[in-house]
């Protein structure tokens, strides 16, 4: 019964949407069936797979680049207090700047294309991940650090053998949140900086003759893929070696 609750909420939304679409006067807003047909049309024209792949490609590159740089940098900054003291104000200054504000700079540096979008996604995930990794190190229980030191670990071993694993539960939460942000940003970046992807689909469908059925079809796909990404990354939290960090 409990498992059915989310589905009934979706069903209710579709019903309200259906009613609203049939009471409008402009006739531009599509009803659920038209959106479904829109999706079928996109699929037949081969655009659905193409755009989804294009968006995922950009997110993967931007996000992975951020993960492999931000986590080591954040851990080192958290570990070497001096580094944190030097760079934290700069990070805090850059963080409130929305990644979207970087779009003109991204286009200036990388031109209109994949690189600009990847750059924006990288920026959007890099800063929160760095800050989260830095904080995660600071929250490592001192007893564990002392135990590590007591067994004669070198700094490098201490970093990989104690600090990284002790930070992992917090890092995984940060990974999940920043993946969500990356997915939000790719759509926005595609509206401006490229000519493929789900974000482009939405802008293009509107510009090319008010195809609001395709606009909403794009939105539905964005939501579904975001959900799949979140569910997948949540699987990491279920790892047995990590469970201690989630009060389980």
């Amino acid at each position: 019964m409990k498992r059915l609750l989310p589905f009934s909420a979706v069903a209710a939304l579709v019903a309200v949407w259906f009613l609203a679409a049939h009471r409008q006067t402009s006739g531009l807003f599509p009803d659920p069936a038209q959106v479904l047909l829109g999706l079928v049309e996109l699929f037949r024209r081969g655009l659905l797979a193409k755009y989804v792949v294009a968006s995922l490609y950009r997110v993967s590159w931007g996000y992975l680049l951020a993960v492999v740089t931000a986590i080591p940098i954040g851990l080192l900054l958290g570990w070497y207090r001096r580094g944190e003291q030097a760079l934290n104000p700069l990070l805090q200054l850059l963080r409130p700047i929305s990644p979207l504000a970087w779009i003109p700079i991204g286009i200036l540096w990388f031109g209109v294309g994949d690189m600009a979008a990847i750059f924006l996604i990288f920026l959007a995930s890099f800063l929160p991940l760095t800050v989260a990794s830095m904080n995660a190190v600071r929250n490592v229980p001192p007893t564990l650090l002392r135990a590590g030191r007591n067994f004669g670990l070198s700094n490098r071993r201490l970093l990989t053998g104690v600090i990284l694993p002790a930070s992992l539960p917090q890092l995984i939460v940060a990974l999940r949140i920043s993946l969500g942000v990356a997915w939000l940003v790719v759509v926005a970046a595609e509206m401006i900086a490229v000519n493929s992807g789900l974000g482009f689909l939405i802008v293009d469908a509107r510009n090319a003759g008010n195809r609001y059925d395709l606009v909403v079809a794009g939105m539905v796909m964005i939501g579904l893929i975001g959900l799949v990404l979140d569910v997948s990354i949540r699987q990491l939290e279920k790892m047995k070696a990590l469970k201690w960090g989630y009060g389980a």
Binding site: P141, R146, A147, N150, G152, A166, A248
Partner: protein
């Protein structure tokens, strides 16, 4: 026994010389330890007994190399202590085990310099010694408090240290588990002769375990008295001598005999 019936004293293992500790504060620095002198023999079990917050843990941290004394020296085997060292392992209250490692992984933690075969042998030996056989692949969150404490002791013993520092190791356990753990610790000590410095605020614990009890005063802590517990193990907890020693310590700590 030495020549002509004269007892040869065991050599000193840990020598604490005039150790004082002051922590800086906004006002005048807080004095925590004043001029502590203590000589711990090789293989001796010494309990440092004192009221909560008296600074006995600070003393243990200085001896363990985690804190630097404001003045005075600590010598182990004649060498000044400059930092933590794998030859002497600190055992914390159960929170010291690594939650992301299994029982085996925790015991193996300090053994990274050994060959795989030697490591496996040590793991098997110490897991068995502390009575955790069958739990090799369990994670700490699947263990009880007492089992986590056993695990930490196994991890410490596995690197074959000469000295163990135990900082109220059984403080977080329920009273029944605590009693079991004490006799376990004595059993393990018979198997592995180590010098042990054990910090506690529990008078019974000190009389049950120690060869000598060092009674500390309240802050700033100084040594009030050192009491020899010359009773052989296993100790009878209702023997007149046990009660006499316990009452002596109660009085020394400044507590009444009645509640």
């Amino acid at each position: 026994m030495g020549v002509r019936g004269v007892t040869v004293p065991a050599p000193s293992k840990v020598v604490i010389q005039a150790v004082s500790m002051r922590f800086p504060t906004d006002g005048p620095p807080t004095e925590v330890l004043t001029s502590i002198d203590l000589d711990v023999k090789d293989g001796e079990f010494v309990c440092i007994l004192g009221p909560s917050g008296c600074g006995k843990s600070t003393l243990l941290n200085i001896v363990g190399g985690f804190l630097k004394a404001t003045s005075g020296n600590v010598l182990i085997d004649g060498q000044p202590v400059t930092g933590p060292d794998p030859r002497r392992i600190f055992v914390f209250q159960e929170r010291g085990v690594f939650p992301w490692l299994t029982v085996e992984g925790n015991v193996a933690f300090g053994l990274f310099r050994l060959s795989t075969a030697e490591r496996a042998e040590r793991i098997a030996h110490y897991v068995k010694l502390v009575g955790l056989s069958g739990f090799e692949n369990a994670y700490p969150q699947e263990l009880s408090g007492g089992m986590k404490q056993r695990l930490e002791v196994a991890r410490a013993l596995a690197v074959n240290p000469d000295v163990l520092f135990l900082d109220e190791p059984f403080g977080a356990l329920d009273s029944i588990t605590r009693l079991v753990m004490r006799s376990e610790l004595l059993r393990i000590r018979r198997a592995e002769k180590k010098t042990i410095l054990f910090v506690t605020h529990d008078i019974d614990e000190s009389v049950q375990l120690a060869d000598r009890v060092v009674v500390m005063s309240t802050r700033p802590a100084a040594i009030r008295r050192i009491v020899d517990i010359e009773m052989p193990h296993p100790r009878d907890l209702s023997s007149p001598r046990y009660i006499e020693l316990r009452d002596l310590l109660l009085e020394e700590i400044g507590l009444a005999h009645k509640i």
